[in-house]
C-alpha cells in the first residue's frame, strides 16, 4: 500500500527584482530587515539554528511558526523548515543574478493530505483563515 501522506504539493513564486543579489541576501537574512517584510523573528543565517517567526496570535493559534535553518549558501540559496498549524513544510529561496537585478524563486513545499495539517486547519477555523481569499493562483506545481 502506498503512503498517501507522501504526496505533497509545492507552492512556487518567482520574481525579478531590480536590485543586486547582495541586497536581496541582506533582506532575506538580517533579522531586523526580515521583520520588516516577512514576520518578526529571531533568525540567524546559520545552518542548524532553530528560530521562530511570530505572526499575530489568533483564536486557537498563538501565531508561532517553528523553524530550523537548513541551507545557507551565501548569495545563492537559503532554506528553512516552517512548522505551524500542524503543517511541516520547507521554504527554499534561490537567488540568481539577472539582467539588471536578481531573479528570486521561493518554493514552499510539503503541503500534504495529512492528519495533523488537516485537523489543525479545521480547528483553527477555515472561515476566518481563508475569508476573502478568492484569488486564483497559478503557482501550484
Amino acid at each position: 500500500m502506498s503512503n498517501p501522506a507522501e504526496s505533497t504539493r509545492t507552492l512556487m513564486i518567482e520574481r525579478v527584482f531590480q536590485h543586486p543579489p547582495e541586497k536581496l541576501w541582506r533582506a532575506l537574512t538580517e533579522n531586523p530587515l526580515v521583520a520588516q517584510w516577512l514576520l518578526k523573528n529571531d533568525f540567524e543565517p546559520v545552518a542548524g539554528r532553530k528560530f521562530q517567526f511570530r505572526s499575530e496570535a489568533m483564536p486557537k493559534w498563538d501565531g508561532v511558526i517553528d523553524c530550523e535553518v537548513l541551507i545557507v549558501e551565501h548569495l545563492k540559496r537559503l532554506s528553512y523548515s516552517w512548522s505551524a498549524l500542524g503543517l511541516d513544510s520547507v521554504v527554499l529561496w534561490t537567488l540568481t543574478p539577472a539582467e539588471g537585478g536578481t531573479h528570486v524563486r521561493m518554493e514552499h513545499s510539503g503541503f500534504r493530505l495529512d492528519q495533523q495539517a488537516a485537523y489543525q486547519g479545521a480547528n483553527y477555523g477555515w472561515q476566518h483563515f481563508f475569508g476573502g481569499l478568492e484569488r486564483v493562483l497559478g503557482e501550484l506545481v
Binding site: 507552492l11 533582506a27 517584510w37 493530505l113 481569499l133 493562483l137
Partner: protein
C-alpha cells in the same frame, strides 16, 4: 462540477482523511478510477465491513460517490471535494505574494 465547501464540510473532509486506511482508499480511487467494494477490500487488506464503514465516512465528506449494479456497489472518487487543501495552498499563495510586494518595498527603502 464545483462543490461549494462549507466549514462543516471541511471538517468532514479532514475527519475522513485523518485515518490512514481511508486516505489509502481515497487515493486508490483517485488513481484507479471506479472500484467495487470487493476490490477495495482486497486492496485495503481489512475486512469488508470495515471498508464499508470507511466508505460511509468518505461519502459523508462528499469525497466519494457510489452506484449499485446488481449485487455490487461501485465507488469512485470526487477529487473536487479536496477544495479545503486547495484553500490551504491559496492561503499561502496569497501570503507569499503579499510578502513579495513588501520585500520589493523594503528593497526600495534600503540603501544599496
Amino acid at each position: 462540477m464545483i462543490v461549494r465547501v462549507t466549514p462543516a464540510n471541511a471538517n468532514n473532509v479532514f475527519r475522513a482523511l485523518a485515518d490512514p486506511t481511508r486516505r489509502a482508499i481515497f487515493e486508490e480511487l483517485t488513481r484507479q478510477g471506479e472500484q467495487t467494494v470487493h476490490a477495495l477490500t482486497r486492496y485495503a487488506g481489512v475486512s469488508q465491513p470495515a471498508v464499508s464503514k470507511h466508505l460511509t465516512v468518505l461519502k459523508l465528506a462528499k469525497l466519494v460517490r457510489h452506484r449499485r449494479e446488481g449485487r455490487e456497489t461501485h465507488y469512485r472518487a470526487r477529487p473536487d471535494a479536496l477544495a479545503p487543501m486547495v484553500y490551504w495552498l491559496r492561503h499561502y499563495g496569497a501570503f507569499w505574494r503579499d510578502r513579495f510586494d513588501r520585500l520589493e518595498a523594503l528593497l526600495e527603502r534600503m540603501e544599496s
